[in-house]
């Protein structure tokens, strides 16, 4: 009887040891790097912390009131980010899908082309932004004077409107290939017999695309929209190196606005309040999107 009890105890402690050995390190790093800063951020968002003195006095909802009522730069950066996200997400998904659609046809160069379209994605946003800075400033004007096409002679990074589109262009160039890879694997899983049956029934290519292929690849669209929304909403590196938020702060993303509030203006309390608002917005938008596109998914 006693022996049995000891055995039970022994089993229990060894299970606890196993839990600690297997899961402990992951929990430790997670708590240290994500959970604690997250909780601290919530706390600091209700204070006037300046980051230097280490003193933080509670100010209630003042930071949030300030942001919602008086902070026009945050509002501007929010609208910029929203506009950028909508256009960037739609264009890169359409581009990624059509690249995938055309590169699942039996082209001789298709493997090579897949490599080409994917390649920009392996380079980080910071370096890409600097590379494109050269292209917008020097490369395009060289192409403009060689071809006479006025598109290339625009002051790309100099005006608010063109700087916005410059960011969209680089974003699509960078991300379309990644989404293409996901759409290709999904297109390859569309059953051939359904496509053949539709063709025999006389469906046009557009009808097949609209009524069969697109509904069947909705799971991939769920993932691709999710990825594109989170990339564009959280854009920072590319923004920093290509436009630095300019001209006149017109292309300052929310992420950059938060960064500047804390690390340039030393208003850490206000910055953390913005960061919390940012988190809530990202969480709400991405979960709504996943819920919405999931409801559009069908089985073959």
């Amino acid at each position: 009887m006693r022996k049995g009890e000891n055995g039970m105890n022994h089993k229990k402690t060894s299970r606890l040891t196993q839990q600690v050995v297997f899961v402990g390190p992951a929990i430790l790093f997670f708590i240290l790097i994500i959970a604690i800063p997250f909780v601290l951020g919530l706390y600091y968002s209700f204070t006037d912390w300046d980051g230097i003195s280490g003193k933080a006095t509670g100010v209630g909802f003042d930071n949030y009131k300030q942001i919602f009522m008086h902070d026009s730069s945050f509002r501007d950066s929010f609208w910029f980010t929203a506009k950028f996200t909508i256009l960037g997400v739609v264009i890169t998904n359409v581009a990624g899908f059509f690249l995938a659609y055309l590169l699942t046809k039996p082209l001789k160069t298709r493997n090579f082309l897949r490599t080409v379209f994917f390649m920009p994605n392996v380079i980080g946003g910071l370096l890409l932004g600097f590379i494109w800075q050269f292209i917008f400033v020097k490369g395009f004007s060289a192409l403009g004077s060689a071809t006479g096409i006025s598109f290339f002679n625009l002051p790309w990074l100099g005006t608010e409107n063109t700087a916005f589109w410059a960011l969209v262009i680089v974003f699509v160039w960078q991300t379309a290939g990644y989404l293409m890879v996901i759409y290709i694997s999904s297109l390859n899983n569309v059953p051939k017999d359904i496509l053949e049956a539709a063709e025999i029934d006389g469906a046009s290519r557009f009808q097949v695309l609209r009524s069969i292929i697109i509904p069947l690849i909705m799971p991939a669209a769920t993932v691709c929209l999710f990825l594109a929304i989170s990339w564009s909403f959280k854009m920072f590196d590319l923004n920093l190196s290509l436009t630095k938020g300019g001209p006149f702060g017109s292309t300052e993303s929310v992420a950059m606005n938060i960064y500047n509030e804390a690390f340039s203006k030393n208003r850490y309390g206000l910055g953390t309040a913005k960061a919390i608002i940012f988190f809530v917005i990202v969480a709400v938008i991405t979960s709504l999107q996943v819920k919405f596109t999931k409801s559009k998914e069908v089985e073959a």
Partner: protein
């Protein structure tokens, strides 16, 4: 006969269109490489043309200014060590969480999934406070610890989905043979997880290698650099000096492009697998 003919000519049109589009996609790389070996004057007057003379001296100057070998070594070190530790830590955690489906472990899984939507910028300000309090600032091990924390949710999530597909019978056979839980994991389960190990490795490599924001916050003093940090610092000092900036950018992008061309098959598979699970 007619149908196949029409089909073929349609394919050729598509093929040509796609090749043209592919060339357009490569134009930025053309500008980058061609202008990196021009003299400053040549580069300003004719950016689209091939170089009149090839100036390798641009490279050696940029190489010295950015202190390229140090930046490259730090980037490699941070990426490799973070990756190895992440893969081991997260594979172990995910395995145990699937096999011991306790209430705590289910709760933990939900927390990890929820954490995946938390943007880095939402917690970066207090993170700086935490890391400086416990002495992780301006150190490479400190930066690696940050990557371990940020990498945990998604890596655990990916492994978690994969472990569920491993049949329990294999482990039971090993247990009967007398292996304890650790032995079963390292000798039996870990090798079976190889496809997902590759996926996690690829996704984390592309992220950590290219990351600028986190290292810029942790390596604040500027004594330590990674490739993105060195590039950014360089642009701060040599604005518009494209004859130095472009070679620096070429050196910056070359390692990851070479990595991509060698690992291409795994990268494509890794992204697909990661997306299906995500």
């Amino acid at each position: 006969m007619d149908i196949t003919k029409r089909y073929r000519s349609g394919t050729i049109v598509t093929e040509i269109l796609m090749i043209v589009l592919g060339i357009v996609f490569l134009v930025p790389f053309y500008f980058l490489f061609v202008n990196s070996v021009k003299t400053f004057g040549d580069l300003l007057t004719s950016a689209a043309a091939l170089p009149k003379s090839i100036e390798w001296g641009n490279y050696s100057r940029a190489f010295d200014i950015t202190n390229f070998p140090t930046a490259l070594w730090n980037s490699v070190l941070i990426t490799v060590v973070s990756n190895v530790l992440l893969v081991v830590i997260c594979a172990m955690a995910a395995y145990y969480m699937v096999r011991n489906n306790s209430r705590f472990n289910r709760f933990l899984f939900v927390i990890f999934v929820a954490a995946m939507v938390v943007p880095f910028q939402s917690i970066m300000i207090p993170l700086v406070k935490v890391t400086s309090t416990i002495g992780l600032m301006d150190s490479i091990p400190g930066l690696i610890i940050c990557y371990l924390g940020f990498g945990v949710p998604m890596s655990v999530f990916l492994f978690h989905g994969f472990v569920k597909s491993i049949p329990l019978e294999i482990e039971e056979a090993a247990t009967v043979d007398g292996s304890n839980a650790y032995g079963v994991f390292y000798r039996v389960v870990f090798p079976l997880m190889k496809p997902m190990l590759v996926t996690v490795f690829i996704l984390n490599t592309l992220w950590i290698w290219n990351d600028y924001l986190l290292p810029s916050l942790i390596l604040q003093s500027g004594k330590l650099s990674t490739i993105p940090i060195a590039t950014f610092a360089f642009f701060g000092q040599y604005t518009k000096q494209w004859d130095l900036a472009l070679p620096a950018l070429v050196m910056g992008v070359l390692p990851i492009i070479v990595f991509f061309l060698f690992m291409q098959r795994y990268i494509i598979e890794g992204i697909t697998a990661g997306a299906v699970k995500g």
